[in-house]
Symmetry: C2
Subunit: 252 residues, 2 copies
């Protein structure tokens, strides 16, 4: 890989990422990043594997998995803006109890923990992840993770998914108790990495994550996993790809 | 009403508000508030009336109304923490498009606007609201609203719902572009009202709203509307009631 090589990207997209992927414009010319920062849940690991355990806890309502995850994301930011930090796992458990109650299902704290904690720690990687990461690593990229999960949580997730060897470092917002996509979470990791915003690329399957990273000045790649759309009001990411392999194609 | 009268409240509750309502403890002794600050959407106005328009836009999936609202709430805080403000109505439209796409439904911006904007501005009040507010007003309480909706939006909502006469003032976070429950939103309205935190009571049907107000030092009342649960990790509100009439019973 030639470091600092200029790459011209073109195209445009806001919604409709399921129909169209590939490089998209943010500016005309983008310099290759020095470090790739990967989000973890949904981006690397497949949350859909939790559908049955969450559904069972919710009295058979497997369709409520997205509402549970959305509620957890909402309350993670509630925790940040009210300065009342709780661990992402705890928020996940509490959010499941809220979704259960709002849907007339009785669920104890113990039952909620059982439905979530072990499945969340044993999510399988998406099928493209290991090959894509191996290719990016072979190209010489520094690869790190930045997650809302706790340090201990993401370590277990990576161990179970066999992802430990691909990463130079793992960062958790637990250390600063400020959830993504608060701009301070990206600024903190850039400081730890000792790079300028434009030298880093945030890679995520969440519109809100790439939106925050873009506002913080990073390059961004949106992985359009099934059922994941960009947020129409946010700045466009530099790239939209279908998986990590396609990102490796672009960055080779 | 005797101003500043001390009132002893007791009881305790975190989840299970559907089963149990009434005064609950926060401290042993609570002084009656000088001003009541009401949240608007869901607290005073019935969002369920939008189920059919949102469901129609989502290809018949009326069950997705809570996911749409949760996505809107999440993105309102994304907007705050990434310092990229958009109007609550715009966020609502964009969130509906995201939920549509994530569920394989094609929906244009115009269709999303049509499904949301007019219905949101014409939400009916819950049946207890006018009587409850009239009683609180007769007791001499200063009554204001604080909403994530825009100034223009909440004015239209109150006009259409016939709520204008009950309020001494209306506040929208549009003026500071910081969504509830960011602590700064409550601090801002306290400053406008020129009262200390403990002299005000936030009244809302959302766990995250009373949680933020509590962290900001206000008295809080949770209205346990059907399908609305408190967040288990947050501090308990001072009161949990089933409707505004029950709040009027407590504050008389």
């Amino acid at each position: 890989m030639v470091r600092g090589k200029l790459k011209k990207v073109a195209g445009s997209l806001v919604l409709g990422v399921g129909l169209m992927s590939g490089s998209v414009m943010a500016g005309d010319v983008v310099e290759k990043p020095k470090v790739l920062i990967f989000d973890v849940n949904e981006t690397l690991l497949d949350l859909a594997s939790m559908r049955s355990s969450v559904g069972e806890a919710l009295g058979g309502r497997e369709d409520l998995l997205p509402l549970w995850f959305s509620t957890m994301l909402h309350y993670s930011l509630v925790s940040t803006v009210t300065r009342d930090y709780h661990d992402f796992g705890q928020i996940g458990v509490a959010s499941l109890r809220v979704v259960a109650q709002n849907n007339g299902v009785e669920l104890t704290d113990e039952q909620a923990k059982k439905a979530i904690i072990t499945p969340l720690l044993t999510l399988p990687p998406h099928p493209d992840v290991k090959e894509g990461l191996a290719r990016l690593k072979a190209e010489g990229y520094k690869i790190v993770s930045l997650t809302n999960s706790s340090n201990k949580g993401v370590q277990a997730q990576f161990e179970n998914a066999g992802l430990l060897p691909y990463f130079d470092a793992r960062y958790s917002i637990e250390d600063i108790q400020i959830y993504k996509p608060d701009l301070r979470s990206y600024e903190w990791v850039l400081d730890k990495l000792d790079v300028e915003p434009e030298e880093a690329m945030m890679v995520a399957a969440h519109g809100w994550d790439v939106a925050g990273a873009k506002e913080a000045g990073l390059q961004t790649t949106f992985i359009a996993r099934p059922g994941k759309a960009l947020f129409p009001l946010s700045k466009k990411p530099d790239h939209v790809v279908k998986d990590v392999n396609e990102l490796a194609d672009i960055l080779q």
